[in-house]
Amino acid sequence: MTSDILLLEKNMHINVFGLNHNTAPIEIREKLYCSESDVPVILKKLKDWGLYESVVISTCNRTEIYFCSDDSNNSEESIKKIDAFLMEHFGVALDWLKNYTYRFCDEEAYRHLFLVASGLDSMVIGEPQILGQVKDAYRMATFHNTTGFFLDKAFHKTFNVAKRIRTETRIGYNPLSISSMAIELSKKIFGELNRKKILVIGAGEMCEIALKYFKKEGLTGIFITNRTFQHAQKLAEDITGIPCPLQDIPDLLTKVDMVLSSTGSEKPIIDKELVVSIMKKRKNRPLFFIDIAMPRDIDPEVNHIENVYLYDIDDLKGLSQQHLSDRLKESEKAHTIIEEEVVKFSHWLEQLEKNPLITHIIDVVEETRSNELKRMMQKMKYVDEETLRNMDLLTRSIVNKLIHRHISLIRQNGSPSLLEIMKQLFKFEEENEKEMDSGNEGK
């Protein structure tokens, strides 16, 4: 307990060490990819070396290790240790690590974390999955007890920053992939898609990918046709659709709302006359064609018919380009937000380091919290990991919120009487204080 307080007394540094798609080619990233079973091993190793807090983020585009170091255990040394470990664990050469990795400390480190979590450092800028991956990595670390006060704070801050960027900028607003754009456009026309039906012409890979996206929207009917009926049947089985023969197309067109087409046919399969006659039968209910085939399956003239909308692969690609440039514009706003938050966070850290009472309070409370949680866990017999994680997060956030008031009171109003009350309240003993003093003198 006392050693922990002394530890917090020294200046703590948040570090990141890692590589991503910008610094390392895929061959190297593959080598250093940490699978889910690797991560606990690494976390444990780092802990054994005396890195009190660490989190490992590993995705297909990046592998990063976040850790805390103090002045005695300086980051250079830690990085050497990490180097050695990585060389051993993954069997890579030292100059590889030197050439392809980056190391950031303090301000740069948490700026980097903010950038990563909000998708600004991703290959596809603004993509949302990375935030989930960062959250998973953090949960994994808390599960193995390798996070402490600083990284907890840094990661919670990161999640806030990422959320702020999601709501205040439009960085993740417009989709980029062909499938999600097809969904987005369908929603522009039909609103919710949960009562809609789709006809798929062609059973190729493109169709399959897009269909998986559509399926998530809860369509009520998926009809699949293909020149080779067996392929249609197979895809239909995979995706619980209804296989239909090609000659049913005119009939199906009167039933469905969307048509997704991707065949290898040289000539258009659906021409204008067909659609005109079908629109009469449909009583002009809107019909949306998505033609992702090359050469095109659907006569482009179809787009001129009223209540018929046609997007071909070029339209979708053009739209994707436009969305990408929108995202780049929005990323400037996001960078400003990040700078703001970086300043706030480093200010917070600075203030924290100055006050031993605050660190004491944090420790006491954390100890109580983890003990209570452990007791609870022993009582409850059937707890799955998910609940465990959620309870851990919940208690953390309650505790943080509760002590936040005390801490800000101490910061704002340092009057002796208040400090005295706080000391009594949290049993901050003279002995501790003496040790603190000697620690300070020692510096």
């Binding site: 026309i189 039909f190 609103g191 002009n284 209910r285 809107p286 209540n307 997007y311 929108d326």
Partner: protein
């Protein structure tokens, strides 16, 4: 008394307008919520103002320009709140509320004091005829903006170009459905308005139909909407064609409702 309520409600409408304009630039739900509650408060106080005026004056307060515009705005606010409950059309508040505020400010520039009712208007038909006509007109007023928005969104999808704001517009199907609802609610109100008007005319002027400008134009308006409904139900006109017809219909409403009174005169010139 009622005029104070009126100004308080105007204040809330303006507040709501500000919120919706802010909502347009900053996509935050909390702003929209605030705007919604301001609008709702504005509507309630406005309703109260109308009620108080009814008791003070002793007649349905839809007899001069101030009263008409005020009541018309009340109907628009009410119907918009009703639509908002069913569909997710917050963004349309950014169009409706500024116009609502302008209408009310315009109304307040006309004389607002309560004057004795002209003898010809003293009738049980006054509330029935006016309320039906006003509600009908208000519904078509909203459908006019829905149609304009439909055309903008539809054009964007056809031309494959989207202004950045377009991501927040309702879907085409929703807009078309609202148009259909407006049509099926507005038309009966309009019809009853015309029928009660003609009954009242037979009592007041001695003849059911005297081809007065107001009567003529309201008949033309009725025919336009009747054609629209027939085409929708029988030939399946929907989407853009409905939207165009709704816009044309609204111009006839404008002529009947305001144009005739301001420019043509005739028997029906009370305001």
């Amino acid at each position: 008394m009622n005029i104070y309520f009126f100004y308080i409600s105007l204040f809330f409408y303006l507040l709501s307008t500000a919120c919706y304009l802010l909502f347009l630039t900053m996509n935050r739900n909390i702003i929209e919520k605030f705007g919604h509650y301001s609008l709702f408060s504005g509507f309630c106080i406005h309703f109260l103002a109308t009620l108080v005026r009814y008791f003070n004056a002793g007649y349905t307060p839809i007899t001069n320009i101030y009263e008409s515009l005020s009541f018309f705005s009340l109907c628009i606010a009410g119907f918009f709140l009703y639509l908002k409950r069913i569909y997710r059309i917050e963004i349309i508040g950014c169009i409706i509320l500024p116009i609502l505020s302008v209408l009310l400010i315009w109304a307040s520039t006309f004389p607002t004091e309560i004057r004795p009712l002209p003898p010809v208007l003293k009738s049980y038909w006054l509330p029935i005829h006016t309320i039906f006509s006003f509600v009908g007109n208000a519904i078509f007023f909203i459908s006019f903006f829905i149609s304009l928005l439909y055309l903008v969104v539809e054009r964007g999808i056809k031309k494959k170009k989207f202004p950045s704001i377009a991501t927040r517009f309702p879907s085409l199907e929703t807009l078309d459905l609202i148009n259909y609802r407006c049509m099926s609610y507005g038309f009966p109100f309009l019809t009853v308005g015309i029928i009660t008007g003609s009954i009242w005319a037979s009592v007041a002027w001695g003849s059911y139909w005297s081809w007065d400008p107001k009567e003529t134009w309201s008949l033309v308006t009725w025919i336009v909407y009747a054609i629209l409904i027939h085409n929708r139900l029988a030939i399946g006109w929907r989407g853009r064609k409905t939207a165009y017809m709704m816009i044309i219909g609204f111009f006839f409403i404008l002529i009947t409702f305001l144009g005739v009174n301001f420019f043509a005169g005739g028997l029906h010139s009370y305001i």
